[in-house]
């Protein structure tokens, strides 16, 4: 308050003027409060409440921030849910479709056509974005995660697609026709052995199951199994060889002894005059059986394995690509070579040290973090894609018995894959993880909304005026001010000067 120059003579009048001024200022202040709805425009004017108001303002800001995060998270969750539900439903449709028969009048079955559809649909779903930011790309939200359908299947000018990889793998697994196994006979003994030093084709990992009399089986030892005909076996007796396939499944080759003079059908061998003759017949029959298995079971497994390998690839971990010459391949290209010549179907974030869910960790409350990230190359999604691609990329010749068996071999594998089972991670599992996150997010939303309205209520109690109170104050002040004016004016006229003539 400025000190006005002191005039002793007019002190009373000055005092009255100051008092009127103060009252008028109060009136102005109250009118301002009424207009703004606020007690004060500065923290100083809030009195003791200023600390709480500052604190509440900070809390309201933080809570609004959480609610912003939650709204972001919610829209992401609904996008994820829609995409994952569609993927899971397509996978289960495929499980049904692959169980049905195989009519391929034009070389393609219904299951194959739908697999192609599902795959291209999956590519679109996995490329979904919210406002230009891809949700299946982990933390690389600015990178479109999945290559388009045609590139995946057929590749581009310089990069091979899944179809090429399948073809290469088939050649590498097939070898010269018997699935990279060699047969040899010496005397009474037949030996079947893996081609040494290469990872392709059939593998011998299980001892042969022999029901043949006078036969000693040995191995597998050093990638070889020996069958030693020490004497003659009896008609109807069987020997089975279990062959491991590249996709982790097995194929069983069973040879049954038929009486001498009977023409052996597929999977049968004729007992000869001597044990050595029998061994010779056994070797021929085994060679045929292996050839058939290589063109059916092994070919189907090769296709699936090649497709799986292809989909296991990502930017920092290019897919396994077989080094030519394929029929006698012994290994893979280096990752750099593979990356240069193979389509990388998934370009998103592939840092395996961070869990897929954690790639988008949303802070929905002071200490609550909810992971709602997703990657297109998570195992369940990748497997479904690999299966669809294997089915879509393969072609079968109508009327060919071998191809019919091969189709069955492939679809039975795919059916098992799509149907899943206990302990096998499925797309459903990802969807349910997202649902759990959604529950947490919804809970946090309720809490934060409640908290926000509580904070705002408290804040408004402290900084807002009660219009009724202020109006009453203004009225009483107005009355006082009017009375003061009246008295002042009467006092001013109460001077002797007015009464002297």
């Amino acid at each position: 308050m400025e000190i006005s120059a002191f005039k002793a003579g007019y002190y009373d009048m000055d005092l009255a003027r100051d008092a009127l001024g103060t009252t008028k200022a109060q009136l102005n202040d109250l009118t301002k409060q009424l207009n703004t709805g606020q007690v004060s425009t500065t923290y100083g004017g809030l009195g003791q409440a200023r600390g709480s108001v500052l604190d509440l303002n900070a809390k309201i800001s933080a809570t609004s921030g959480y609610l912003g995060t939650i709204s972001n998270a919610s829209s992401r969750i609904s996008f994820l849910n829609a995409a994952l539900t569609q993927l899971a439903s397509n996978a289960s449709s495929s499980a049904t479709e692959t169980a049905y028969g195989y009519t391929f009048s034009d070389g393609t079955t219904t299951a194959q056509t739908s697999a192609a559809n599902y795959l291209s649909q999956a590519v679109d779903l996995l490329n979904s974005d919210i406002g230009g930011r891809y949700i299946f790309s982990g933390r690389s939200t600015d990178t479109k995660p999945v290559a388009d359908y045609d590139t995946i299947i057929n590749g581009d000018a310089t990069h091979a697609g899944v179809a090429t990889l399948i073809a290469e793998r088939k050649q590498a697994d097939l070898g010269s026709g018997s699935g990279r196994l060699t047969l040899s006979g010496a005397g009474n003994t037949v030996t079947v052995a893996e081609e040494a030093g290469q990872p392709f084709g059939f593998k011998l990992a299980t001892p042969a199951e022999s029901g043949l009399s006078n036969v000693t089986v040995s191995g597998p030892a050093g990638g070889a199994i020996g069958v030693d005909f020490t004497g003659q076996s009896n008609e109807g007796e069987v020997l089975s060889l279990t062959l491991s396939l590249p996709d982790g499944t097995t194929s069983k080759v069973t040879l049954k002894a038929v009486a001498a003079g009977t023409a052996p059908g597929p999977g049968e061998f004729e007992l000869g005059a001597t044990a050595a003759d029998t061994a010779g017949n056994f070797q021929t029959a085994l060679g045929d059986a292996l050839g058939t298995a290589a063109k059916t079971d092994l070919a189907a497994a090769s296709a699936l394995r090649a497709s799986q390998d292809f989909f296991a690839g990502s930017t920092s971990n290019p897919p396994a690509r077989i080094a030519p010459p394929y029929a006698s391949a012994t290994g893979f290209l280096t990752p750099a070579q593979a990356a240069a010549s193979t389509v990388i179907w998934y370009k998103g974030d592939d840092d395996s040290s961070v869990a897929a869910r954690d790639t988008s960790a949303q802070r929905v409350d002071a200490s609550q973090v909810v992971g709602i990230g997703a990657r297109a190359n998570e195992a369940p999604i990748r497997n479904a894609l690999a299966q669809w691609a294997a089915l879509a990329a393969e072609s079968f010749t109508p009327g060919s018995d071998t191809d019919t068996v091969r189709y069955q071999a492939l679809t039975s594998r795919l059916q098992a894959g799509f149907a899943g089972g206990p302990g096998v991670p499925s797309i459903q599992d990802i969807a349910s993880e997202i649902s759990v996150a959604n529950v947490a997010v919804t809970g946090a939303k309720d809490r934060n909304t409640q908290r926000l309205s509580m904070y705002q209520g408290s804040l408004s109690d402290m900084v807002s005026i009660d219009p009724a109170t202020v109006l009453t104050q203004i009225l009483s002040l107005q009355t006082r001010l009017q009375a003061s004016y009246q008295i002042t004016s009467s006092m001013a006229s109460l001077s002797l000067a007015n009464y002297m003539r």
Partner: protein
């Protein structure tokens, strides 16, 4: 007794009435004049029976006047303090989020929350940049406002100096005139004299000694003579037209960034009123306090806030590893990348007392030794060390400074820039912990910390360097968003050079540093007493300074209101004795009119009587 004497008496009555009426007119005319004191005149009867008028005197109560002058000084002080505190509160404490400091900070944290939730969103990134710019701009504005208030104070001192010098010159003139007066001094001179003294009493706390002949001497309460009865001192003030954060008071005029208030005595000696604390109250004291203490503290609060904000986002804290060597144990810490101003704190116990040694990196050896409290904590042992030659180059300096400080810690440099601190191994001392802050100046490749703000003077992140004076001083006026980040909003997320666009590591770190991380704010900000640093989050410090400025404003206003009440009551007392009452004067006028006409009547009767005598 005869008719002649009656005539004479009546004539003297007429003259007395005229004199009194003249006085009434003077009183009435001057009722509203500043410093006018009611004139009085008394009449006495002479031995001959005629009326004699005394000299004109003033209705003056010296005791009350003296009290009023004392309180005037107090009121001027409290009023100026309240006025500035109110303005300061207006600067800091706007509660509207669009202009308030906390509103800007809350917007920045909200924007970071948004970025943390969706790091690749260009909207969220732009939001963070925009709110960071607003925050920096608001700090700049507030700092400018504080310095404007200081400039105002400087200007007001200058204009007060003119007032004081005019008053002192006036006193000299009056003393000269009073010296030539014979007999009772002229009352109008006294009024004039008192009005000069009143002017001085608002500027400073003064004592006045009055002689019967109207001569006065004026002292300050601290004993400096301002007016010795004939000659007055002169105030001198070398006003600076604009005052910035670095312009601080210094007793050495060549180093002072603000004007010095000098009192030059008639003999030519000069006294620095600020340094000697000549005034204990009054407007001079208030303005000097504001300019040199209150407002610089407000500036320090802003600077600490700006520094804290910048450091929180850019500084990494390398982890210390416990080590043992034989019986000795301690910690090692990697100080690679340490910059001038970065601190390494060694907390240890020796003889049962916990102490902290702060090693402050300094590249300019001319600023050594650093003052106590340079680290923001006056209890720290401060050692300024040059790390220009890496940890190895600084080792010898650190060791000798540690020994000089009376500690028995040993330091070594086992590899690279690692500093290893070990106790004495006998249990006399124990190293409790070692920590360091190292400013990351790189947008990517230097860790998840981000130099979001830079010092516009250097274009580099704030490190708290002492190399060219304290970098903190005035930092709030220079803080600005890093132009490199502004040009590449990807830097808000990309901390390795190839970070995924959706990686929230850096946004999360920035958010945590602003909302959760505790840091130390200098004791100079005055938020937790005068000798303890304030430990808390940036948000806590921010609300702390706003609340304390608000409380200061209210307190200053209350003090002022109290002081005004005291002044008012004294003024009322003065008014009752010295004030002109129009009613009283007018009733006197009636009396005098009557007396005049009665005297005139007597004269006309005497004339009639003379006529009658003539006709006989």
């Amino acid at each position: 007794m005869g008719l002649s004497s009656s005539l004479n008496i009546a004539v003297s009555g007429l003259a007395a009435s005229q004199a009194q009426i003249e006085l009434v007119s003077q009183n009435v005319a001057n009722a509203n004049s500043v410093g006018y004191i009611k004139r009085q005149i008394t009449t006495t009867a002479s031995y001959s029976g005629s009326v004699q008028t005394s000299a004109v005197t003033r209705a003056y109560d010296q005791l009350v006047q003296r009290q009023l002058r004392t309180e005037n000084a107090g009121a001027a002080y409290s009023s100026i303090m309240a006025q500035y505190a109110q303005q300061l509160n207006g600067v800091f404490g706007q509660s509207d989020a669009n202009v308030s400091l906390d509103g800007a900070f809350n917007n920045l944290t909200s924007a970071l929350q948004g970025l943390s939730s969706d790091p690749s969103s260009s909207t969220a990134r732009a939001g963070v940049l925009q709110s960071a710019q607003t925050m920096a701009a608001r700090l700049n504005t507030l700092s400018a406002n504080v310095q404007e208030l200081r400039t105002n104070a400087e200007q007001q001192i200058a204009s007060d100096v003119t007032v004081a010098n005019n008053a002192l010159k006036g006193l000299e003139d009056i003393a000269r005139q009073l010296g030539t007066t014979v007999g009772a001094p002229d009352v109008s001179l006294l009024d004039q004299r008192d009005s000069y003294i009143d002017q001085l009493s608002k500027l400073g706390d003064i004592k006045v000694n009055e002689q019967p002949n109207g001569q006065v001497t004026v002292y300050t309460n601290s004993g400096v003579t301002l007016f010795d009865g004939s000659k007055g001192v002169r105030f001198q003030f070398d006003q600076r037209t604009s005052v910035g954060p670095n312009a601080l008071y210094n007793a050495d005029a060549s180093k002072s960034g603000v004007g010095q208030l000098l009192i030059v005595t008639p003999s030519g000696a000069s006294i620095d009123a600020g340094q000697q604390n000549v005034f204990r109250s009054g407007e001079f004291k208030g303005l000097l306090d504001l300019r040199d203490q209150v407002l610089p503290e407000a500036q320090t609060q802003l600077d600490e806030l700006a520094a804290g904000l910048s450091r929180a986002l850019s500084d990494a804290s390398p982890a210390a590893t416990p080590v043992t060597a034989g019986a000795q144990s301690g910690f090692s810490i990697d100080l690679a990348g340490i910059q001038p101003g970065n601190m390494t704190k060694i907390s240890f116990q020796q003889g049962g007392v916990t102490k902290t040694v702060s090693l402050v990196a300094v590249d300019n050896p001319s600023v050594l030794p650093l003052p106590v409290g340079a680290t923001g904590n006056p209890n720290d042992i401060v050692i300024g060390v040059s790390f220009a030659g890496g940890t190895a180059g600084a080792l010898a300096d650190i060791q000798s400074a540690l020994s000089a400080a009376g500690t028995n810690l040993t330091v070594s440099n086992p590899s690279g820039n690692v500093l290893q601190v070990l106790d004495d191994g006998s249990g006399t001392s124990t190293v409790a912990g070692v920590s360091a802050n190292i400013t990351n100046g790189l947008l990517s490749g230097g860790g998840a910390e981000l130099p979001l703000f830079v010092d516009s003077a250097t274009g580099q992140p704030y490190t708290g360097s002492f190399d060219a004076g304290s970098q903190r001083t005035g930092f709030s006026s220079r803080i600005t968003i890093n132009p490199a980040v502004l040009g590449d909003s990807g830097a808000l997320v990309n901390y390795t050079g190839s970070t995924d666009a959706g990686d929230a590591t850096r946004p999360n770190l920035l958010l945590d540093r602003l909302t959760g991380a505790t840091q130390q704010f200098s004791y100079e900000a005055g938020l937790s007493g005068t000798n303890q640093p304030y430990s808390g989050t940036i948000g806590g410090f921010l609300t702390g300074i706003i609340a304390s400025q608000g409380a200061n404003a209210v307190q200053a206003q209350n003090l002022d209101a109290g002081q005004q009440v005291v002044v008012n009551s004294l003024q009322a007392k003065v008014a009752s004795t010295s004030g002109v009452s129009i009613d009283e004067e007018l009733s006197n006028l009636i009396k005098m009119q009557n007396a005049y006409s009665a005297n005139a009547r007597i004269i006309s009767v005497v004339r009639d009587l003379f006529d009658m005598l003539d006709r006989i």
